[in-house]
Subunit: 327 residues, 2 copies
C-alpha cells in the first residue's frame, strides 16, 4: 500500500513513517498489508531514515500544487499531521486557517477526486473542547473551541465525517491529548512546557514552567500516539458509529505529579532545574482545555493510555537521549 | 445604520428587508436605531418593495467580487440567509460547499477586513443535529450532522464563534426549525413538504405528502423567524455566553396534527387534497433531524415559538393569500 504522511518532518511524523514501513497496516481480516511507499511531506524532512521506500516532498502542504503531488490514484491512506499549533494559530490567524483548515480540505478534496475511499487519518486535538466543561469530558461532550486552533480542528472533524458519509474518504479523526515528551526545541503549542519541564532538566538545562504546579493536563506519549495512528487506520469503518472521531485516552496529571515522577526517575538535582514563572497568556489558553476524559468509544476501539509518567519519562530517555541524562 | 442581507430575494429575506426598514435595530440601551440603507443581495430580487433605501445587488453571494461590493466600511450588520438547502447540497456537493461554506467565510473575512466588529447574523439549522439523539434536544446536545447541509451550517457556527471571540465580527447564529408556511413553489429542502401540504390545498391544488402522518417536526412561522433575526442583532454580545449560537424554539407537531389544524381552519375539503406518497429519500433525511427542543438559552435570550399551528395557518392566509383560500 502507498501512504502519504503530512507533517512527516515533525517528531511524531518521523516516528510514524518508520513505524508504517516496519509494520504495515493490518486489513480488517487481521493480515498485515505492507506499506511499499511513504510519500513524506513537510517543510523540512531532516532525520528521516535513508530508505528507498520513502519519497521526500520538502514543500508546503498548504499549497494546492503540493497536494496534487502527494495524493494520487495509488494513495491508499493519508495521515494528516501537519498543523500550525495553538499559539501559532492565535498569533497568525490567516496562517492557521491556511494550514489547519485549507490544507485539510485540499487533501480531502484530492482524495475525493484522485483516490476516492482512501483512508484519511487526521490529528485532531482536545483543543476542540472549551467553554463550560464538565469535570470529566465524555464522548457526548459538545466541542466548543476557545482558540482558533481548536476551531480549525473541529471543522476538520466535521469535514471528515461528511466526506466519509459520502464515501469520498474513509476518515478517522483522533483527538490527541498533550503529547509528552517532545524532543528538541519548544514549539508554538501552548502545551509545549509539558515537554520542556521534563526534557530540558534531563538535558542539563534550567527551564521556566509558565503554569502553577496544580495545573492538570491529559498526557500521552509519542510511542502511544504513533500506535494510535496506525490502529486508527486499521479499525474497520463499521466500528466507528455515527462519527469518525475518537478521543484518545491519556493520563491526567498535575505539573506537580509530573515533576514527582521526574524526581523518581532522575533525582532531585534534575527537578531543581525547573522554576515557576507564570505566563498569563499560556495559563489562559491551557485553562480552556479539559483535563480528564472518559471515552467509552476510544476504549471500545482499543486505544490505550500509558501506564505511568515514570514509564513515559523512561521511554523518552531511551528513545531520544540514548539512555543517558544529565544527573 | 447600513445593513446587508444575503438571500434577500427569498421569502424570509424579503420580509426581513421590509421589517428592518420599518423598525430599525434597537441598540443595547433600548433605543431604536434606524436602518438607513439595506444592501439586498440575491440571484434574483423580484418582489422587494420600491424603496430608495434598498440597494439591489442581483448577483451570486458566493462570488468574491460580489462579497467585496456588499460588505464595506459602513456596513453595520450582515444578515446572512443565502444557502443551498438540504437536498440541493446532497445533490451537488461542490455547489453546497461554495454557497453554504465558502460564501459564509468570504463574508466573515470581508467584515474582518472592511467592517471589523459588524453584527453578523447567520441562519443556521437544526440539521446540525443527527446521529444518536436524545428524545429532546437541549443546549448541551452535540451537533453531529448527517447531511452536507448540516455539516456546512455547523462549520459556519464554528467560524462565527471564533471570528466573534477574536473581535472580527459580533456574530449570532440561529438554529432554525422548519419554517412553515413557505409561499410559492417548493424548494430543494427535504422539509419543503411541511409547507406544501398546507399551501397547496389552500390554493386548490392536490399535493403528495412524502412522509407518514406520524412524522414529527419542529416548526416556526415566517413572522416569528423574522422577529428572531432582528432580535438576534439586538441582544447584547455579553448575553450570549460561551457560544454565539442559539436554538430557536418551535412547535413540535406531527403531520397529522398539522393537517388537523388545517381542517379546523379551512375545512375537510381542503385537507382531502393531501395524499400520502412515501418518498424514501426524503424520509431518510427527515429521520436524521431532531423533533423536539428545549433551549434554556433560546428562552433566556427571549426567542419565542408560535402559539399554535392554527395561528400559523391563519397568518399564512392573511400574509400570502390576501385573506382568501380555495375552500
Amino acid at each position: 500500500m502507498q501512504v502519504t504522511v503530512t507533517g512527516a518532518g515533525g517528531f511524531i511524523g518521523k516516528r510514524l513513517v518508520r513505524r508504517l514501513l516496519e509494520r504495515g497496516i493490518a486489513s480488517p481480516d487481521g493480515k498485515a498489508q505492507a506499506v511499499t511507499k511513504v510519500v513524506a511531506c513537510d517543510l523540512a524532512l531532516a532525520g528521516l531514515p535513508n530508505d528507498p521506500r520513502i519519497q521526500r516532498v520538502e514543500a508546503d502542504t498548504s499549497s494546492p500544487e503540493v497536494v496534487a503531488r502527494i495524493v494520487t490514484p495509488v494513495t491508499g491512506a493519508v495521515f494528516h499531521l501537519a498543523a500550525i499549533v495553538s499559539v501559532g494559530a492565535e498569533e497568525d490567524f490567516e496562517l492557521g486557517m491556511r494550514v489547519n483548515f485549507d490544507a485539510t480540505r485540499a487533501l480531502l478534496d484530492a482524495c475525493r477526486r484522485s483516490a476516492p475511499g482512501a483512508k484519511f487519518v487526521f490529528a485532531s486535538s482536545v483543543a476542540v473542547y472549551g467553554g463550560e466543561l464538565p469535570a470529566v469530558v465524555e464522548d457526548g461532550t459538545p466541542p466548543a473551541p476557545q482558540t482558533s486552533y481548536g476551531t480549525q480542528k473541529a471543522i476538520g472533524e466535521l469535514l471528515i465525517n461528511d466526506y466519509s458519509r459520502r464515501g469520498f474518504v474513509d476518515g478517522r479523526a483522533l483527538r490527541l491529548p498533550t503529547i509528552v515528551v517532545r524532543p528538541g526545541r519548544p514549539n508554538k503549542a501552548a502545551s509545549t512546557f509539558a515537554s520542556s519541564i521534563i526534557r530540558d532538566p534531563l538535558e542539563g538545562r534550567e527551564v521556566a514552567c509558565p503554569v502553577p504546579a496544580e495545573t492538570a493536563m491529559c498526557l500521552l506519549s509519542p510511542r502511544k500516539v504513533v500506535e494510535a495512528f496506525v490502529r486508527a487506520a486499521e479499525i474497520p469503518a463499521g466500528e466507528w458509529g455515527w462519527t469518525r472521531v475518537a478521543q484518545l485516552p491519556g493520563l491526567t496529571l498535575t505539573v506537580r505529579q509530573m515533576l514527582d515522577a521526574l524526581r523518581e526517575v532522575a533525582g532531585e538535582n534534575v527537578v531543581k532545574r525547573v522554576r515557576f514563572e507564570p505566563d498569563e497568556r499560556i495559563m489562559r489558553i491551557v485553562a480552556t482545555w479539559p483535563t480528564a476524559f472518559r471515552s467509552a468509544k476510544g476504549q471500545r476501539l482499543g486505544f490505550t493510555a500509558d501506564g505511568s509518567m515514570q514509564e513515559i519519562i523512561r521511554a523518552f530517555i531511551q528513545d531520544e537521549l540514548s539512555g543517558k541524562f544529565v544527573a
